[in-house]
């Protein structure tokens, strides 16, 4: 056998890897590589910087919402009330006493005595309700002369925290000089309800509405979602009807949330004539929205349980129902819980469908039941954001902080559950 020597075809030239042209070409390609990588990093950075910016703006504005500015007001209560006894401010006599002593008049007189004719400009228009609340809380105050700390007007409040009108700045400077003003934690914001005066509004009413709505949603969406997932994943025969169910669930998961609001309005309010603005209807609407999320999460969790578990259970004589309820479901629970919490977090932040069914009620007391007019935290944020009064800006941001804290906590719990209990088979 004769070896044929390699013959170079006359047209091919050997690539000069070390040559200038090739080196430039490689440098160019590497530069493109670096640029591309940098672009990717920039995309991630821009996205996360936007998140950071959003959070900083909200926290920066909202932190002020948790602080209230108060001015002092000294009232000689025995003189003003005609020496009522503390007993008259407790128990069943309370409302009668309140009607007879007229706290608002006492407040107005004390303000005029201490701050002059137009002293009322220093205080919030509802400051007298703060005085009333302090009296109810501590009836012994009526025994003597007391200095009360009462919320200042919104203009002075902003002068204390930021910038305000020139008159308010002057007033604030005067108050500070006299030592008649202080800043303290705004308990009223956490315990109060909606109102017209930013100095006295709170989020408890909206938060309670949210909690009631969420309870309704959870009680409806969780069982229905898990049972539907079990049916579809374990028992459903392969036929047209099952396909129809699957298509419906996937559709529901993709329908814009506002459509659920229209459904709630047309079916629950118009057709079934349920009460408007009620947490019950809000919960029902959100349950329809959350259910598909739970079904999809639960199906994935059930699918992840290996078939060997089912076969082993069946091998020792368990019935199909026992296989699922005694063996498969307990193993799938962590995954189901994770999906449920994420779905509930989404429902908690949902606004649009609840606007449709009128959960924008102006209520100054927290709802007490399923059918009371109520509002929820995101809707409260929306309503406050529409207020003209500048004092509501910080309240809106503060309410957003509270909402975000709830959502982040729920998501953190979901992540924890996933990491702690999820089994890799």
């Amino acid at each position: 056998m004769t070896a044929t020597p390699p013959t170079a075809s006359p047209s091919s030239r050997k690539t000069d890897w070390m040559g200038d042209a090739m080196q430039r070409r490689i440098a160019r390609r590497y530069a493109a590589e670096r640029r591309f990588k940098f672009l990717g990093l920039a995309a991630v950075a821009v996205s996360s910087l936007f998140l950071a910016f959003l959070l900083v703006v909200m926290v920066g504005n909202g932190a002020k919402g948790f602080v209230t500015t108060e001015a002092t007001l000294t009232i000689d209560l025995p003189a003003a009330t005609g020496s009522i006894s503390p007993d008259q401010l407790t128990g069943p006599q309370l409302s009668a006493t309140m009607a007879s002593i007229d706290v608002r008049r006492i407040f107005d007189q004390a303000v005029q005595a201490q701050y002059g004719e137009d002293g009322a400009r220093y205080f919030a228009s509802t400051a007298w309700t703060a005085l009333r609340d302090q009296l109810v809380e501590n009836p012994n105050l009526v025994m003597g002369e007391t200095s009360f700390w009462l919320p200042t007007s919104s203009d002075i409040d902003r002068a204390a925290k930021d910038r305000s009108t020139p008159e308010a700045e002057r007033d604030y400077a005067a108050l500070t000089k006299a030592g008649e003003v202080r800043q303290s934690f705004n308990m009223q914001f956490l315990t109060g309800s909606d109102g017209t005066d930013p100095a006295r509004v709170g989020i408890w009413g909206a938060l309670k509405g949210s909690l009631i709505t969420m309870v309704v949603t959870l009680f409806l969406a969780f069982p229905v979602g898990v049972l539907a997932a079990v049916y579809l994943e374990e028992y459903a025969p392969k036929n047209r009807f099952t396909d129809l169910i699957e298509v419906s669930i996937n559709n529901l998961a993709a329908v814009p949330s506002i459509i659920f609001g229209l459904l709630g309005l047309a079916v629950f309010l118009q057709f079934l004539s349920m009460p408007r603005s009620a947490a019950l209807v809000g919960g029902l609407t959100l349950a329809l929205m959350t259910m598909p999320v739970i079904v999809i999460a639960a199906r994935n969790a059930i699918k992840a349980v290996p078939p060997s578990i089912r076969e082993a259970a069946m091998g020792v004589g368990a019935s199909p129902i026992q296989v699922v309820f005694h063996h498969v479901l307990p193993l799938a629970i962590p995954g189901i819980m994770t999906g449920t919490i994420i779905g509930m977090a989404r429902a908690l932040g949902e606004t649009a469908p609840l606007l449709m069914i009128g959960m924008r009620a102006f209520t100054t007391t927290p709802p007490d039941g399923l059918t009371d007019p109520a509002t929820v935290l995101p809707v409260q944020i929306f309503l406050w954001s529409d207020e003209v009064n500048r004092g509501f800006v910080e309240k809106t941001s503060a309410a957003i902080i509270v909402l975000l804290v709830f959502l982040l906590t729920m998501n953190a719990i979901a992540v924890y559950l996933r990491n702690r209990f999820e089994t890799r088979w």
């Binding site: 590497y30 493109a32 998140l51 814009p256 908690l348």
Partner: protein
């Protein structure tokens, strides 16, 4: 007795039935009967089922008919003789009287309501009592019936499991019911709307200026094209111009370049963007982004810039969609077979050349499907546009001008009193139906693309 209390009592009775039936079945085993078919607890469940289910069903039915029975009794009484004959007015007085009987502090407008309230209280409590008694009777009867059937060879487990299966099926049916409810309510109200406004004008009219005025059975000012344009402009153009590059590049960086540690931290951070409620984005857009964009526009010489600009809403919406696009792109790139990537790298292509010329073209159908899903989500988004995009129905391509969207107008039309005979209320349902159909189509097309593409590599 309230309905809630009755529910709890029946649940308690169910528990008692469970305990007794289980104990009785347990004695079979102790007494050494050879062939016991079901475990004692199944007999317990069987009895509890019979005690609770019929009673609860009865209560549900009763709670829907009891108010009507109460009203009937009140109307029969001599005190109700002087009520107006107009059905609408009479219903208003009756509902006020009922509300008053629940809550004595309520302020009422009709004196007749004050007279009728005690009657209502009596009638309602009477029917509540009757309902509760009947429910208890059913509860006892059911429990007793189940109790008598307990025998060693009784197939309690089969019975219980059949009921459970039925419950499972019922739960799945709720999804169909909800879909039907959505479609039916939207179509029903839309047909009524098209009785007042011609579909042609609604879909192709250029003038959006809705009002309650109906002239010759036709309402005017319902041309929705400016709304459709605003929706597309904000949701499908501006938002996607932000979300596609940022989302795609984030996905590429995080999957192809970033170290495992960076990925572990950055991925959840990006996902937080998707978890922030839309009302927060809306507030942020209206409070911070929109004024900043406006002063920017003024500084570059656009003097008629609106403080509620399409750009502000679109930008913020785009940021909200980033994690969505990013995770869809992530999935599609991960589905490209590793051999293709390895082949490209082995030929000497750099990483970025491999990504640009092999991975992304191969993953393109998946990415396109993901973008379509993102568009469908963006056009259905409500709060950002309600708070930041404004209400003026302009047909303009100027991003600094104010435009309005379908969802904004739905909220606007349904705010305040909703009268189901007004064309404005019904228009909201017609807009809703349009939105529903478009998002549905987008989703179907997107899922088809994604599915076919997956099959290509499987």
């Amino acid at each position: 007795m309230t309905i809630t209390a009755t529910f709890f009592l029946i649940a308690g009775l169910g528990l008692i039935a469970w305990v007794f039936a289980r104990a009785r079945a347990g004695r079979f085993i102790q007494s050494g009967v050879a062939s016991v078919h079901s475990l004692p607890s199944y007999h317990g469940w069987y009895a509890a089922m019979w005690a609770v289910v019929p009673a609860i069903l009865f209560l549900l039915v009763w709670s829907t008919i009891a108010p009507a029975l109460g009203s009937y009794q009140v109307l029969e009484s001599p005190l109700a003789a002087g009520l107006p004959t107009d059905a609408f007015e009479r219903a208003a007085i009756l509902s006020e009287a009922r509300a008053l009987s629940h809550n004595p502090d309520l302020k009422v407008f009709n004196d007749a309501a004050v007279r009728l309230a005690p009657l209502y209280e009596a009638a309602d409590s009477k029917y509540a009592m009757i309902g509760a008694l009947a429910a208890f009777l059913l509860c006892f009867a059911g429990g007793a019936f189940a109790f008598t059937r307990i025998r060693p060879d009784f197939r309690a487990r089969t019975q219980v499991e059949r009921t459970v299966m039925f419950g499972l099926l019922l739960a799945s049916l709720i999804a169909i019911l909800a879909t039907l409810g959505i479609v039916a309510s939207l179509i029903f109200e839309t047909i009524r709307f098209f009785g007042m406004v011609s579909p042609f004008e609604f879909l192709f009219g250029l003038d959006w200026n809705p009002s309650d005025k109906v002239v010759d059975g036709q309402a005017t000012g319902f041309g929705a094209v400016p709304l459709f344009w605003g929706t597309v402009f904000i949701g499908a153009i501006i938002a996607m111009l932000v979300a596609i590059p940022l989302g795609l590049m984030s996905a590429v960086y995080l999957t192809q370049y970033a170290s495992a540690n960076v990925r572990k931290w950055m991925k959840p951070i990006l996902e937080i963007l998707a978890g922030v409620p839309t009302v927060v984005y809306g507030y942020f857009a209206a409070l911070t982004v929109a004024p900043a964009l406006r002063s920017f526009a003024v500084s570059i010489g656009i003097t008629d810039a609106s403080s509620e600009s399409a750009l502000a809403a679109g930008l913020v919406m785009g940021v909200m969609i980033i994690p969505f696009v990013s995770s869809m792109a992530d999935d599609s790139i991960a589905a490209v077979p590793g051999s293709m990537r390895d082949g490209s790298l082995a030929m000497g292509a750099t990483k970025s050349e491999t990504i640009k010329q092999v991975l992304i073209p191969a993953a393109l159908p998946g990415v396109v499907g993901g973008v379509l899903l993102a568009v469908s989500r963006a056009i259905g988004e409500t709060m950002i546009v309600v708070m930041a995009a404004g209400l003026a129905a302009n047909l303009t391509a100027n991003p600094f001008a104010s435009v309005t969207t379908v969802t904004t107008q739905i909220v606007q039309l349904l705010t305040g009193d909703t009268d189901f005979d007004s064309p404005m209320t019904l228009a909201a349902f017609a807009l809703g139906l349009t939105l529903f159909v478009v998002t549905l189509l987008l989703n179907i097309v997107a899922l088809q693309i994604v599915k076919r593409y997956r099959e290509a590599y499987d």
